[in-house]
Every structure is written in structure tokens, then in C-alpha cells.
Symmetry: C2
Subunit: 192 residues, 2 copies
């Protein structure tokens, strides 16, 4: 009986250093692979097809979308982005854990695959400070706090739907926290 | 608003190396303190009062037991052992995490304290091998398997009531798994 892999979904407000964190995490541990998205946009300098993205034609994307081949998809600036279901399922069935880095809105659209899914929220240091302010005393003006709260609220409102929160204050310790979450979830009893 | 600590309960069948693991865990990370039990038995050579155990008179123990001062207690070879509730509550309120090493039977008797409690089960390497056999193919005789199963079953029957399982095959990696569980639980959202 082979142990199935786990799908780790990582979301973060922009500017949280998510990309660096995810690279650091995947590079530092075995058995964890990145999920690769398909996109219709052109590759940027340095981007490799099949590594950073799978670059496909719009027609091809829409055909796959119609066939329900994506875990989730989004249209940004007239280009499509999607997470292929089959690749994630294949890795997980082999016992590989998969890391999927995706924004909060996208994460909520993930279709249930019947595999164990763990949701991790990254907070940037400035949000962390904000969070401290939210729960503690503050010397800021009421107006300044209200403005900060408004921006934070939108993102933070998704927090309760996640399993873990990692504050990216010091990169190394944030990566250690992510590693720990992956290792701990592998030890967890009662997984699907 | 101060973050409350977490109570980590570690149980293991005898011979699993639990004591070494717990020492390794507590020594390797901050913010985690051992819970110290009270006992009526005499100190063994090298045991320090207030460090390894709190040694008290039987009369004193029974008085405290009557006052409901123990999270759990047990009588072994006519001597009493108990986990003082107040000490655990005090540390957790201060934001300290507490490690309580206790046998499976004892763990199930832990009275709810209204604090977040995480249950970790340690499997000795031989149990791990057995576990592999339980789920996989085997070349052992049916009789040998039956006997192993009987011993294992009693302990393993408690497994589903725990949150995590750590196999103590290689000491260092078992300690890393325990560390990871503690760190991950600190990142977990929705704690009590």
C-alpha cells in the first residue's frame, strides 16, 4: 500500500516574497515537487517551457478548459493561466507531495480532487506588523489604522479558510516553518 | 493579546526510545518546557527533585488527588504518579508550550483543560517494521505474524486517537519530525 502525496497550496498577498520562499522550500527538501501551470502568454526572458510554465496556444487552452482539465484557471490581462489536474494527480498517486503557489482568489476555486490538501497562507512582514496592531495596542492615528485595516482586511479575510499561517519576517525561519509544516503533515494521522 | 501555549502529549509503547527523544526535542528548541510529574516513589540515583520528578509523601499526593489537582494520575507498584494541572496551566498561559510524556492509557485519561492539546504517538522501529507488515506482503509464518499482531494491536489501537505518528527509526530524523510538529502547530490557524 503506497502512501499518497499531499497537495500543499501556498497563497500570499503580493510583495510577501512568496516566489523566493517556494523556491527555498522545494530546493531544501526531497519528495516535494512544484506544480507547473499552463499559460497562453509568451515566455519572458529566462523562462523555460516545461519548467517555469507550460506555454500553450490560446485555442489549446480553451479546449482543455472545456474538457475540465484544470484544477483552477484565471484570465489576467487577456492571457490564461491554469493548473493542470492530471499532473498533480499523477505526482500525488506516486507518493510525491506537490506545491502549488496560487493567489487567494485562485486557491478558493481549487476543485476538490479527493486528495489531502493543506492550505498555507504567507504574511509579508508589513502585514505581520499590521496584524500585531490589529490585536494589540497602537499609537497610530485612528485614520492611519483604518486605512491599513481596510487593505489588510480584504486579504486577511481569507485567513480562516487556511490551515497554517507563516510570517515571512526572516527568510530562513519562514522557510523552516514551511519545511516543518510539510514534515508535520507527513506525520499526520487520518489523512485522506 | 498574548498567544497561549500548546500542550504536546507524547506517548509510546515501551522500548521506543521516548525518553531520549523527548530530551532531544526539548534541548533543541526554545519555548518548549517539560511537564514535571509528582510521584510518591523514592528518587533513584541521579534523579533530582523538581527536575525529573517532584517527590512528595503519599498523604500529600492523596490530598492533592482529592482536590482534583491532577490532569491525570496512575498507581504503579503501589506508588502514585500524577501530572499537576496548575503547573501546565501556568506555563501555557505564559505562552510556553509544554511537553508531557505519558503512556497511552494515561494520555486517554487527560482531562480537558480548555487549552490546545496535540497528541503525538511514537512508534519504535520494530513496531514500524510490523506496521509495514500489517499493510504489505510478508514472508513470516502465520503464527509469528499472529503473535506480533496481537502485541501490536493493543498499542496501535490507540493510534487513531492521536494527531501525529513519528517512527523512531533514526534518532536525529525522529527528533526533526517532532520539532517540525511543534513548529507547524505554532503556525496552525484556528487553535483553541
Amino acid at each position: 500500500m503506497k502512501k499518497k502525496g499531499i497537495l500543499f497550496i501556498i497563497s500570499a498577498p503580493s510583495g510577501s516574497g512568496k516566489t523566493t520562499l517556494c523556491s527555498g522550500l522545494v530546493d531544501s527538501m526531497g519528495g516535494l515537487s512544484r506544480s507547473i501551470s499552463m499559460t497562453t502568454r509568451s515566455p519572458r526572458v529566462g523562462e523555460r517551457d516545461g519548467m517555469d510554465y507550460i506555454f500553450i496556444e490560446k485555442e489549446e487552452f480553451l479546449k482543455r478548459k472545456k474538457k475540465n482539465e484544470f484544477l483552477e484557471w484565471a484570465k489576467v490581462f487577456n492571457e490564461y493561466y491554469g493548473t493542470p489536474k492530471r499532473y498533480v494527480k499523477h505526482l500525488v498517486a506516486k507518493g510525491q507531495d506537490v506545491l502549488l503557489s496560487i493567489d487567494v482568489q485562485g486557491a478558493m476555486k481549487i476543485k476538490r480532487l479527493g486528495i489531502k490538501t493543506v492550505y498555507i497562507f504567507i504574511l509579508p512582514p508589513s502585514m505581520a506588523k499590521l496584524r500585531e496592531r490589529l490585536v494589540g495596542r497602537s499609537t497610530d492615528s485612528k485614520k492611519a489604522i483604518a486605512k491599513r485595516l481596510k487593505v489588510a482586511k480584504k486579504e486577511l479575510s481569507y485567513l480562516p479558510r487556511y490551515d497554517y499561517v507563516v510570517v515571512n519576517k526572516v527568510l530562513e525561519s519562514a522557510i523552516e516553518n514551511l519545511r516543518s509544516i510539510v514534515i508535520a503533515e507527513r506525520c499526520r494521522i487520518g489523512r485522506k
